[in-house]
């Protein structure tokens, strides 16, 4: 009985990996045709970074430390934030709402693969392409032009944290996309949640710049695990709202946030899919 279960599980994993490979490869090839769009980041990323460099240099010209951050740490924060952004970006929210709105989602209901898994595979392929078209060149620019050495203090934990962030961003975006089952056109909701997500995740600036009271609220929200926590894991020490945590604990909490977000996605999907009706397509 046990060996039967084990063999069934092995078969499912093997099948999942085959789907992952096929969908990721197809997405990679599809987007490679538009690689010049992605390559825009080679210009845009360093220009944004240069602005931040000047802003913070001006700010730090009058003092050595701002809310516990030195100039070097602040600059490193923005550099890592940008690189993590390239690794974890996805458009699962937009894709899903567009499919629901246009009715194209019907075809996915007929396929023997869960749409969520398929979308995740697409993200994997898309981000593999982004790794060498966006991340690698920008990393070299940071390294040689800005002389910033973005090397994680504990590479293993940093990789794990970024991987969890990758999944967390996907689940968050997918859940946002799932609101289309109720709202059909979700531009406003998407914009709202994404703006709040980025603000609470520390994408625009370190969360430690917020007033202490707000930091305490942000500490208990899952969004910090999208950008802020992975950056702090990368740097090697974590602090928010006056709480310092060892890196393994931060990654553990991040894993917990992924589980919570998975629960949110499953709940939204369970109720949302019952509302979907489509004709033709």
């Amino acid at each position: 009985m046990n060996s039967l279960c084990l063999s069934g599980l092995r078969k499912r994993i093997y099948q999942g990996l085959r789907v992952l490979r096929a969908a990721a490869l197809a997405t990679y090839k599809e987007w490679a045709a538009y690689r010049s769009q992605m390559a825009v980041s080679i210009f845009v990323g360093p220009v944004y970074f240069l602005t931040q460099l000047f802003i913070w240099r001006a700010v730090f010209s009058t003092r050595a430390v701002v809310n516990g951050f030195t100039l070097e740490e602040m600059v490193t924060y923005y550099g890592i934030s940008m690189l993590i952004g390239y690794l974890t970006f996805d458009s699962a929210d937009w894709d899903l709402q567009m499919l629901v709105r246009t009715g194209g989602f019907i075809t996915f209901r007929l396929r023997p693969v869960s749409y969520c898994f398929y979308a995740f595979c697409q993200k994997v392929g898309h981000r593999i392409l982004a790794f060498w078209v966006e991340l690698f060149p920008v990393y070299l620019i940071f390294f040689f032009l800005f002389k910033i050495k973005l090397i994680p203090v504990q590479p293993g934990w940093a990789l794990l944290s970024i991987a969890l962030s990758f999944i967390l961003v996907f689940l968050t975006n997918f859940s946002i996309g799932a609101t289309a089952f109720w709202l059909t056109k979700t531009e406003g909701v998407r914009r709202a949640i994404l703006a709040l997500r980025d603000l609470c995740a520390g994408t625009f600036f370190p969360l430690i710049l917020f007033p202490r009271g707000l930091q305490k609220i942000l500490f208990y929200l899952p969004f910090q695990f999208i950008t802020y926590a992975p950056i702090r894991v990368f740097i090697g020490h974590y602090e928010l709202a006056g709480v310092s945590l060892p890196i393994p604990e931060v990654v553990g909490l991040q894993f917990l946030a992924v589980l919570v977000m998975y629960g949110v996605y499953r709940t939204l999907w369970h109720f949302g899919i019952r509302r979907f009706t489509g004709v033709g397509a």
Partner: protein, 263 residues
Amino acid sequence: MRAGGNNLRIYLAGVKAALAARMAYRGDFFLSMLFMLLVEMGAPLITILIYRTGASFPGWNIYEALLVQGVFLLAKGIAFPFFFGIVWNTIERVQSGNLDLLLIKPKSTMFMAIVTAFDAEELGKLCGGVALFTLAVTRIPPPGLLEWAQFLALFIVTLAALFGYAVILAGLGIVWVGNFRVYDIFASITTFGMYPAVIFSKTLQTVITLIIPIAILGSVPASALLGRASPGTLGAVVLSIIFLLLSVGFWHRMLRKYTSAGG
């Protein structure tokens, strides 16, 4: 005179049609507009948080710094709903082949690309710009009549520069098919315009004032309102006008390169 009135009528018809289409999803529209406003408040929020920690941009108090961002946001708030839509409209039409429909209209293609691109959601930026600008202006020493006159003249040049950017990006969209990331290019380079120019190095200040019209988008008009117009102001104005003329030339050049893909 009659042609101007006719153009205005056509433009208003475009606005009316765009508004009617967007109102099909009213709740989403208002939510989208509100959060468009909040997203644009990112830079002012950073400024507020910086000053809250006790740090500052040397030589600028918080409201002077916010004034620069208020002017920038106000200019974007006028440009984006009313004419900057030419960018996405052109890119979308080239991609789908629908630009042909504008080419056969008995009006200038550029004008028609603007008329059919009114973006109501972007009005959120205008609300944010008005709010931030008002907040900053009421907290700085009251500017005199001369400062207001200088500011208004420079603000018109700011809008002209933004029009130039819009036309260049739209022109790029004709040959760089389907690439909406031209918006990212615009957003990244104009970030320099959201902060007082003095925080940048001398070389960069020269570049953003006299080579690429970026300082004119915020720092230059705000400085005039604060009574701190710099010697580079005239240069920035001349550059913006040249930039506008070149951008229109660029658009026509790109339009000549357009080869229809059907529709």
